[in-house]
């Protein structure tokens, strides 16, 4: 679950972190009112789940409420990386003397959370890591022990910060680390942390991402933000096709037939499972195919689920044919998947022999599965044909 900036800031505010005054607005009139409330120059920021807002023109400065209204109206209509914002954040403009960067994330190598801190905030942190490594610290900490403030202090001190700034920054970084660990975040980032002309240090922009698997445990926080614990917000909002697939996958608990992502090609894919889907999607593209979707089937889904997924994919106007492919399966059954796709094709009004370009699922119960495919005249291959070769056949048979 990715949080918008205004949500992330609400989480910081609830934890007592210093922040500029700000209001989340969904209309230009609200933005004007917000700017009037702030009584001074403001910054208007697009609330969109995409990087590069500044460059795209999604962040603008206004001196008067009228100006704020005009800019908000513009930004609310501005697509960034194809996404419309859910609103704008109207925030008091700050006089910034110095910018810092702080993030907490997981390090899969150390298998621990890590604090990344830099006194060169506001710019691309990967670039700082490459060209100014001495301005960046990495500090791991234990997920087992309660978080100790000294770890945040170490992270800040390691880039050479001292004095009052060290103490103020330590409080912010420690607070961020606690939110990260207590709220099962996969990323908690404040970039930049600003030191103002008057010496105060506050969080200027913030980005958080909560682990999907842990959302249920944080229903309180999500509900307080007006979200549901079952929300699956990714880098972009789901399309209707994706929501429909999610809905049918949730309709019965047996196995998975979903995790669908929409693409704009003409070849519908019924592929699985996790690793198999990634491999097959690449293989189809390498063979010159244009997938209409990514999806995953696995864990032996019911015939009904596979049938509905097949029907859903075939209902897309851009889908010419479908390919049904998996790695050698152990617990998903070849015959059960075969029944599902054949049924889905026929119920959608198509001849499976024509609609299915290739069926390549070898493994458990394949004898029964292959008997079904024979009966309906569906082109299929067994385990002696690699996934790449099957993908090539799928693409080749598009024009048959």
């Amino acid at each position: 679950m990715r949080f918008y900036e205004y949500e992330s800031k609400q989480i910081l505010r609830d934890a007592g972190m210093p922040l500029p005054k700000s209001h989340f607005c969904t209309t230009d009139a609200e933005a004007e009112q917000a700017a009037a409330d702030i009584r001074g120059p403001v910054v208007i920021k697009s609330q969109v789940l995409s990087g590069g807002r500044m460059k795209a023109g999604g962040v603008k400065f206004a001196d008067t409420p009228q100006e704020a209204r005009g800019l908000a109206e513009e930004i609310l209509r501005l697509r960034i990386n194809d996404l419309l914002p859910v609103g704008v954040l109207v925030e008091e403009k700050q006089d910034i003397a110095q910018e810092y960067y702080a993030a907490v994330t997981w390090d899969g190598r150390a298998k621990k959370p890590v604090i990344i801190f830099s006194d060169m905030g506001g710019i691309d942190i990967e670039e700082v890591a490459e060209s100014h490594p001495e301005h960046l610290s990495r500090t791991h900490f234990s997920a087992l022990r309660p978080f100790s403030d000294y770890i945040a202090k170490q992270a800040v001190a390691d880039v050479g910060v001292t004095g009052n700034d060290l103490n103020a920054l330590t409080r912010i970084v420690a607070g961020l680390a606690r939110i990260f660990i207590e709220r099962d975040m996969t990323l908690a980032e404040i970039n930049p942390i600003g030191k103002l002309a008057d010496g105060r240090i506050i969080a200027l922009d913030c980005h958080m991402d909560m682990e999907q698997e842990a959302q249920r445990a944080h229903a309180d926080l999500l509900n307080a933000l007006g979200l549901s614990a079952d929300d699956k917000r990714q880098a972009r909002p789901p399309t209707q096709f994706e929501l429909d697939a999610e809905h049918l996958d949730g309709s019965d608990p047996r196995g998975v037939a979903g995790n669908l992502t929409e693409f704009d090609g003409d070849l519908g894919l019924i592929i699985g499972a996790g690793g198999g889907s990634l491999t097959l999607f690449d293989a189809v593209r390498a063979a010159g195919g244009r997938p209409a979707n990514y999806c995953e089937i696995g864990g032996n889904p019911s015939v009904n689920k596979t049938r509905n997924l097949t029907k859903l994919i075939l209902s897309r106007p851009n889908v010419k044919k479908i390919a049904v492919m998996m790695n050698v399966v152990s617990n998903t059954r070849v015959d059960i998947v075969a029944r599902g796709v054949v049924k889905g094709c026929i119920e959608a009004g198509f001849d499976p022999a024509e609609k299915i370009t290739i069926f390549r699922i070898p493994g458990s119960w394949e004898e029964e599965g292959f008997a079904i495919l024979e009966k309906y005249g569906i082109p299929y291959v067994d385990r002696s044909v690699s996934m790449d070769e099957a993908a090539r056949l799928a693409v080749q048979n598009m024009d048959k």
Partner: protein
């Protein structure tokens, strides 16, 4: 020889009365594995396929040698089950459970490191040494497992359970076969990474080369590349990287929990370059793995 497990490995299944675990137990027994029984709290005295069910792990370890435990309990109880197994002194724990929040994974992994316990997984299918034993469900029913996993001299490590079977099958079809295959798990934090298992394969006289399946997300391939350069390991590795299409879609999660491109280093393209620079052969197509291994072995 083999790594991690051998024909004598005794093990239990925590959560043995669960739907998936009952099937797994059957498949392990049919394969000839030395499964002792399992644990489900409150079910002591019951049997699964004639094997005893106990309330606690200690009820097994107090009276007999238990070399490993397979944890197959719902995600909310998984961390507790792993802590129980670690405290009972079981040296190898295979965590099959999916969807455990990574904070909890990091907690039991850190504790396991302190106690000298080896963790495989979570979100994995287990370990198999063809013809000897299988600890976990990898391969499915015994007869299909025998077909996909012929005994041989190639090690397999894979972030995907399904692709462990696919690659083993292609090695078997090509007449190479498998020494030990480890489904290491698809999560962002896992108990044993490629680099941590490589020394075991390096030390195994019955493994001549290693096939690896990998995905975008995380830094495990960099760690492996570093290990290869540092250790002077001479066993050929052929790796395959899936999910190249994900490079164009940062921030989107596909497949496993660990499979998400957050930065430049997470992309398939970067990882492939890194592995290749460390002398690891990177297969462009998954089906090329057996022939590339044969090439590397000069066979």
């Amino acid at each position: 020889m083999s790594i991690l497990v051998n024909a004598d490995t005794t093990f239990i299944i925590q959560g043995i009365t669960g739907r998936e675990a009952v099937t797994m137990a059957r498949e392990c027994l049919d394969y000839g594995a030395r499964l002792l029984g399992g644990v489900t709290p409150g079910r002591k005295g019951r049997e699964v396929h004639g094997l005893p069910v106990m309330d606690t792990v200690r009820q097994f370890t107090d009276t007999q040698r238990v070399d490993a435990s397979v944890v197959s309990v719902p995600p909310a109880f998984a961390a507790d089950a792993v802590f129980e197994a670690i405290d009972a002194g079981i040296p190898l724990i295979v965590v099959v459970t999916e969807r455990i929040p990574r904070k909890q994974v990091a907690q039991f992994v850190e504790y396991a490191q302190q106690q000298g316990t080896r963790i495989i997984g979570p979100n994995c299918l287990g370990i198999i040494s063809p013809g000897k034993t299988r600890v976990g469900g990898v391969g499915g029913a015994a007869n299909s497992t025998e077909r996909a996993f012929k005994p041989g001299r190639i090690g397999v490590m894979s972030r995907s359970g399904g692709m462990t079977v696919e690659i083993a099958n292609s090695l078997s079809e090509a007449g190479l076969g498998v020494s030990t295959a480890v489904s290491i798990g698809g999560d962002a934090v896992i108990g044993s990474t490629y680099a941590e298992l490589m020394p075991l394969f390096d030390a195994d006289p019955d493994t001549d080369a290693i096939a690896i399946y990998s995905e975008p997300g995380g830094r495990a391939e960099y760690e492996l590349a570093e290990y290869m350069q540092r250790s002077g390991s001479t066993k050929p590795i052929v790796a395959f990287m899936a999910g190249k299409f994900m490079d164009e879609m940062p921030g989107m999660r596909f497949g496993h929990a660990g499979t998400i491109v957050e930065g430049k280093a997470d992309t398939a393209t970067e990882k492939i370059a890194n592995l290749a620079a460390a002398g690891i052969t990177v297969a462009d197509k998954v089906g090329d793995i057996p022939s590339l291994i044969k090439q590397r072995l000069g066979a």
